[in-house]
Amino acid sequence: MRPFFLSFLILLIGLSCTIQAHADDKTLPVDKFKLLPILQDGRLKPLDTFARSELVRFSGKHTFEGQDASVWLARTIFDPATASEDKIFKIDNADVRHLMGLEERKKPLYAFTELTAGLQKTFPTVEQLIEQPKQNLSTEQTALLTVHENALQYTQLLRSMSLLLPLNVDLPSEFDDHKETTTYLDLKKHAIEIEDSIRTIIDKRGNDPEKYSAAEQRIAILGLQIRTIESAAQGNNLLRVIPSPLEAGDYLAPWDLVGSGQATWDSVPQIALWEKLANSWRDGKSEDWDNTLSGLLALSKTDTRPEIFYNKIAPFQSALIFYALSFLFALASMTFNGRKSLTLLSALTALIALTLQTSGLTARIIILERPPVGTLYESILFVGTIAPLFALLMELRLKNILGLLSASFMGMMVGLLAMSMADEGDNMKVLTAVLNTQFWLTTHVLCISIGYGWCLVTSVIAHLILLAQATNRITQDAVKKLLHSQSTLALTALLFTATGTILGGIWADQSWGRFWGWDPKENGALLIVLWLVWIIHGKIAGQFTNLQVTMGYAFLSVIVGTAWIGVNLLGVGLHSYGFTEGLFVGLGIFTLVEMGLIGALAFAITKHRSAA
């Protein structure tokens, strides 16, 4: 980490020279550009995803001043001098802004050029901070570190194509190839001659540039510029867009390709096309731009269109809107005594939402070439799809709008949870070796996720039963039917959670040599099973009244929340995702709200009964 940051200063210095700025503000269509594949975090993805995730990382948004993220990316890599003026760094923390000497604005967005002084000023502090464990850092310290990390990442982006971009250099006649523009690669052809010339000058005149003639000074400056560009590009492997000529499946960043000596004759057409692409962007030549992109796409063997489609429709965010509409229609339908048109509208919008989610999951399966659940975030997406599906199936049977209400409510709530749990940027992750198994991801993970889904449906139905009874809006006969459905739902939830838990044990037996290891996640899954068994047996044994049983099922939402997400906050065990303060507080509030709500509803029901 330390050398990583030390090189940062060199990069800062490197930024201030050489690359020509491009005055024209014209942008070119990026539809083909965003299709180009890039290797990042072990996965080939379209530049569209890369651009979005990088922009979200810096600014928290998917677009920049109304422009597509890919336009921002093209400007950043092909026209870095102009791009460094883009106000994309969002610095929310007032202390960090103050520490970096940044002016206060309505929207705390800053350009890289505005940050450089503050970055240099706070660099000694950051040097100390990176030596400390992350958990010991305060919010301000973490925020400062994040600004520096983001700036470093951004510098890599700015410099990623610098070997192909025209330079602002004053070429001595002996090294001038009389090209319209000169790039680092052009200069590199003369590198040995330039080095020899500098050595001769030093031998002749010594180390003091003051003693050099004007021509000699130009050669010395040129040598310094080459070294500066090279230093600034050291370790620049962010933009992995060129297939490795040596290792199938691997991609290299332009600097990596040149620096590592892996460039072969096979890489020449790729490099030439990228240079042409950079030039056509800078010159605003749309025909050249389009043809070059077609050339690069023709060389690519990866079809990134499914992911572009996925990014474009944003299925899970769009579904959220349709679920909200469905919920409103369902409420309106209940208010107007089950008016058919409103009920149909509610069902239709819920079906649209479900179709969107299913398309999203299918796209993820195609893109990632694995079952849809491999991370906590993906489990939320999956449960957010199947829980409304189960509730809709229930509506088909009960036909009393409660299924619709439950489906749309769960779709909204789990959708919101997914949004809050989404990492910044790309949420399609490759998996660690132990998770890299199609069989167990299909059996255990899907089974337990389906179990969570049934649990949520059971809980929501239990809430609705309590609500209907508390407001005296339901007949005893209807309550009886609903209680029966609730029991069937709970048994189904038990079937899936119990089977899923045991399958998890069998997977653990296969992978770690033990069926049960009391890992927090295993314990969480067992907690759900025990809770369900307790309520079911408490009812059979006559220890619980119907009201208590319904309260127990309603509280299942908290048990599931704790087992599914809460245990990961402990930061221990094999399923640890680290402690997230916001999530912990959110879960705590949710638990208290549920306790209060369920308690209040039960109190109202008891009061009604005693009054009757």
Binding site: G513, W518, A541, V572
Partner: protein
């Protein structure tokens, strides 16, 4: 005699029926859940292994000053209740067949779990590329072992029995070791100059300090500082130290016939066969340091059966041979050649969860099916009426 037997059976049946009552389960389950929550939260501070031992692997545990029943006690009551319910209170009818099968599945699961807890042995075997090994080292148990010149263990003391001030005598000799300092987890520091007298190298320069136990049991560095007495050559008597993983444990030439090596080491046991590592492979996700797969290409060499054969072990794909299961656990690529670390488990109860899970799932499906069918039939009857 007959009346005795009848009375015994009657009382037994009565007791069995009482022990089968569902109210026992009703009170046991919340206790089980509370223990589960406490044991899970405790892992944050004391680690998985200690939490497992304290909360789930013992009969009682302390929450502050209050003793509460722990896993073995609660599971014991649960098992008795379920067994009695199964034997004495089951409704052996078609309608309840799903419940009976599920309950039997749970019984098998708990029985298998008990069997695993009582009989299973876990350890790891580390073998370098091109080498073979049959010695399994335990993850948790450490021993103080005194070896003779032929590597025969003269004394073995499990680490749980070691304490400050303890004296260990070496059989058939006048030599004894007095434990001056035992630390389950030691930190190592420089020994101050004014405390170096009487110490033999490297103890004269380094010292062991008692450190808090690491929540990850495997990380604890167990060691001792001890005084050796009884050697004829008084130069040999004195203070020494040794700890687990110490590359040069004290080896002392007591006299012409006696050479002793005093080591702290993980408990070892031999496998009845050897594992030879042909090669180890780690596949990475392109452009990252994140592994997508680990594979050990091994050869099993079994002198007892004469069975020699090649095999492949990878993540989620263990090798099972002669009751042992060999899993890909870890690796070490830092040395001159790669080492694979295989987890070796001998678990007599490993098949129970497989059978139990099938029975539980089948039982629940059957129960649900019967419930839904009978509900539909009742509805049809209602409509017909």
């Amino acid at each position: 005699m007959q009346s005795y037997l009848a009375s015994f059976l009657k009382n037994g049946l009565k007791l069995g029926q009482r022990l089968a009552r569902p109210d026992i389960l009703f009170w046991v389950l919340p206790l089980m859940m509370a223990l589960l929550v406490l044991g899970t939260i405790a892992q944050k501070n004391i680690g998985l292994y200690a939490a497992q031992e304290n909360y789930f692997g013992s009969f009682f545990t302390m929450v502050g000053p209050v003793p509460i029943p722990a896993g073995l006690a609660i599971m014991g009551v649960f098992l008795v209740n379920l067994l009695c319910k199964f034997l004495f209170r089951s409704d052996w009818s078609w309608a309840k067949s799903g419940t009976i099968i599920s309950h039997f599945g749970v019984l098998l699961l708990v029985f298998g779990g008990t069997m695993t807890a009582l009989t299973s042995q876990e350890g790891f075997l580390m073998v370098g590329q091109g080498d073979q090994n049959n010695i399994v080292e335990d993850y948790h148990s450490r021993n103080l072992v005194v070896y003779d010149a032929n590597k025969n263990a003269l004394v073995t003391v499990p680490h749980e029995h070691i304490h400050d001030g303890m004296t260990v005598s070496i059989p058939a000799s006048a030599i004894s070791l007095t434990i001056d300092k035992y630390c389950f987890n030691c930190s190592i520091s420089m020994r101050p100059q004014n405390e170096q007298e009487g110490w033999h190298s490297p103890g004269s320069r380094m010292m062991l300090n008692k450190a808090p136990a690491d929540p990850q049991d495997e990380k604890n560095l167990t060691g001792i500082e001890f005084t050796l007495k009884g050697a004829k050559d008084s130069d040999i008597n004195g203070k020494y130290l040794t700890f687990v993983g110490f590359p040069k444990p004290p080896t002392l030439d007591i006299d012409d016939n006696h050479t002793l090596t005093i080591a702290m080491e993980r408990a070892k046991r031999p496998l009845p066969f050897s594992v030879k590592l042909e090669r180890f492979e780690r596949d990475l996700h392109p452009g990252t340091d994140m592994a997508s797969a680990f594979t050990s290409w091994i050869e099993i060499i079994d002198p007892e059966t004469g069975n020699n054969f090649p095999a492949k072990i990878e993540m989620n794909e263990p090798l099972r041979y002669r009751g042992f299961t060999l899993y890909q656990s870890s690796f070490d690529l830092n040395g001159e050649k790669p080492y694979t670390i295989l987890a070796i488990v001998d678990n007599k109860g490993r098949l129970f969860p497989y059978i139990a899970s099938i029975l539980i799932a089948l039982g629940l499906i059957l129960h649900l099916g019967i419930r839904i069918t009978s509900q539909r039939l009742a509805k049809k009857k209602e409509t017909a009426a």
